[in-house]
């Protein structure tokens, strides 16, 4: 038995049997190949969508909620409806002390301003930020650093720019760190630049970040806050936190508790959970479709081998008359099945990989890529391959059993 697999004759038997039935073998192989091909391509595409999604949202803490103030829509405690609300720095301290499970609360200011560097200029979103923003929305820095505590304390005139702004305001190959750009007639020292392609606010023009305290001083915002980003600890429900924060704010600003329009919010955690759920569903569907197709393909192999065994009944009878033991007939047919499924599986994986490479090369590049880096994990491919071989063995047992269950005398009977 041990040298059965390495015996040239074993393989010659398989080769002659396959050569004898080229069409049948070809069609069968295509059937299984198609199954594993679909599995690989679908999994790769699902991974591509997931990567794409991570590229857009990945730098945000996923359990974040943005909160800002609007106008009241209900009269309350003597105030008319339509009262303008403004968030204050003191709200921040109240939130920090009242709300459980907070990780970060980051206040921000925002406005549109013209920025000038020598003869180049553009209108961008200018943000007043604390260093903590980097915890909530990770900045992928290319050069320099993000705003630090010292900048906040000394109200420094420094700024961190997005790569998009660098492209618009600087000549190519100029090192931006240490240069100055002018915003509303004030010069800011550029201390950092980060990669763009992130979902945030400020529009497509790109963002400029200056220290929060500098923003307060320059634009005379006093102790108000434009809006805030709140991040919860992973084990806390961000949706509940969003409701709690808004209720607390309504209380502090003397707003009717049921006034839904007084404070606006955007729950990033919830949005991300929705998309993640969708991705999980898509992956499940992919596996389901792929495996179902695979099983169908393997059954096709079994079916075809069964037909072959019927066709070869006489040959099997001859072999048994010449002294082939039942097990020798069986293992030959099982090996044939395993061989066919393995070949088909290998081809399917190779073609699937090639198609993924093709997808990557055509629509997988650039900022607007539909799929980013569509890949399949090697272990996944190996699991698929091993499953295929096991299924091939199991399905091969059916025709093998049929082959030996026919008595040689019946197989040899003249037609």
């Amino acid at each position: 038995m041990s040298n059965f697999l390495f015996d040239k004759d074993t393989w010659q038997e398989i080769y002659s049997s396959i050569r004898k039935n080229k069409t049948r073998t070809g069609i069968t192989i295509i059937g299984v190949m198609w199954g594993i091909f679909l599995l690989v391509v679908l999994l790769g595409a699902a991974k591509g969508v997931e990567n794409n999604f991570n590229k857009l949202f990945g730098n945000f803490a996923t359990n974040s909620v943005f909160v800002w103030a609007q106008q009241t829509s209900k009269p309350f405690k003597g105030f008319q409806e339509g009262k303008r609300l403004i968030l204050k720095m003191s709200d921040l301290d109240n939130i920090k002390s009242e709300i459980k499970g907070l990780e970060f609360v980051v206040p921000r200011h925002q406005r549109q301003s013209m920025a000038i560097n020598n003869f180049k200029s553009g209108t961008f979103g200018v943000f007043g930020d604390y260093p903590e923003l980097d915890n909530v929305q990770k900045k992928d820095l290319v050069y320099g650093r993000f705003i630090n505590d010292n900048d906040i304390k000394e109200k420094k005139k420094v700024c961190v720019i997005e790569e998009e702004i660098y492209k618009q305001l600087f000549d190519k190959d100029v090192y931006p760190i240490g240069t100055y750009i002018k915003i509303n007639d004030i010069n800011y020292n550029v201390v950092g630049m980060y990669k763009d392609g992130q979902v945030g606010s400020g529009g497509p023009q790109g963002n400029i970040h200056i220290p929060f305290t500098t923003f307060q001083q320059v634009y005379n915002t006093g102790n108000t806050i434009g809006w805030m980003m709140i991040t919860g600890k992973p084990e806390f429900d961000i949706k509940q936190m969003e409701a709690d924060v808004k209720l607390l704010l309504k209380n502090l600003h003397k707003v009717h508790p049921k006034d839904e329009r007084a404070f606006g919010s955007f729950n990033l955690g919830e949005r991300i959970a929705q998309v993640t759920g969708f991705l999980t569903g898509m992956q499940f569907l992919t596996w389901f479709v792929g495996i179902a197709t695979l099983i169908a393909g393997v059954f096709a192999i079994g079916n075809i081998l069964l037909i072959t065994v019927k066709e070869r009944t006489k040959e099997i009878g001859i072999r048994r008359a010449l002294g082939a033991k039942p097990w020798e007939i069986k293992r030959q047919i099982i090996l044939e099945s395993v061989f066919l499924t393995s070949i088909a599986g290998a081809l399917g994986i190779i073609f699937g990989g090639l198609v993924l490479m093709l997808i990557d090369a055509t629509i997988g590049k650039g900022p607007d890529a539909a799929l980013t880096n569509p890949t399949v994990d090697i272990p996944v491919v190996l699991i698929a391959a091993v499953t295929l071989v096991i299924l091939g063995t199991l399905i091969g047992m059916i025709p093998a059993q049929t082959a030996v269950s026919i008595r040689p005398i019946e197989a040899l009977r003249e037609e």
Binding site: E315, L322, G323, K325, V404
Partner: protein, 230 residues
């Protein structure tokens, strides 16, 4: 070599059963050239299948080479067939996609003989039947007589105790039949026990002993008149 005592065999047909062999007694000694004669339905093929271990009997005793055959499973039967028996069929039963020499070597493969050795032995037997030049031809490229000679070479290649031939000339014209019979006679002269089944009188007459079967019973068992080679 082959000893049969009170052999019975019946086949179920629906609810009834067809009693094919009704208590045969037969003793074939080593080196004999025996033919079994009978019309179709006489039970001669059933007898051959039982002797050839392709089928089992219902009652009675069967000794092959002194060994009592009973409770054989397929594996044991396969080993005994390979060791003691060589088959020659009416329709040759060569494997279509194997060349002549590969067909001859096949029983040796199931004996576990190595590839090169097998090739050499198979070529020796092809030479014996005069088909050295046709060794690498497929059966479809051979004439009927050549095919049957390949089949005989295949039956002999394991050096069996008995060659069982089921209507060996049934699919051949008279000239080719003649040469195949000559080959079988020659094998017999070399000491091989040959057991032929036929319904042709002139074929049976070329053997040394004719056993006539009718309706599952031996009606006559006689030596033929021809001279026995010493």
């Amino acid at each position: 070599m082959i000893k049969i005592e009170k052999l019975h065999k019946s086949y179920p047909i629906g609810k009834d059963s067809l009693h094919v062999l009704k208590g045969l007694d037969l003793h074939i000694k080593e080196g004999e050239f025996v033919s079994i004669m009978g019309s179709s339905g006489s039970g001669k093929s059933t007898l051959l299948n039982i002797v050839g271990l392709l089928d089992n009997h219902d009652s009675g005793k069967y000794y092959l080479n002194g060994q009592l055959i009973e409770n054989l499973d397929e594996k044991k039967a396969a080993i005994l067939r390979n060791k003691f028996l060589g088959f020659v069929f009416q329709s040759f039963n060569l494997i279509a996609y194997k060349t002549a020499v590969e067909n001859v070597a096949l029983p040796l493969y199931y004996q576990g003989m190595g590839r090169k050795e097998r090739q050499i032995v198979a070529m020796q037997y092809l030479e014996k039947v005069g088909l050295t030049d046709w060794a690498n031809h497929l059966p479809s490229e051979l004439s009927g007589g050549q095919k049957q000679r390949v089949a005989i070479a295949r039956a002999l290649v394991t050096k069996p105790k008995v060659v069982l031939a089921d209507e060996p000339t049934g699919a051949l014209d008279s000239t080719t039949s003649e040469s195949v019979m000559e080959l079988l006679k020659e094998i017999n002269r070399e000491g091989m026990t040959v057991f032929v089944i036929t319904h042709e009188e002139d074929i049976a007459e070329q053997t040394n002993r004719i056993v006539r079967l009718k309706d599952g019973i031996i009606i006559s068992d006689e030596k033929t008149a021809q001279k026995i080679n010493i």
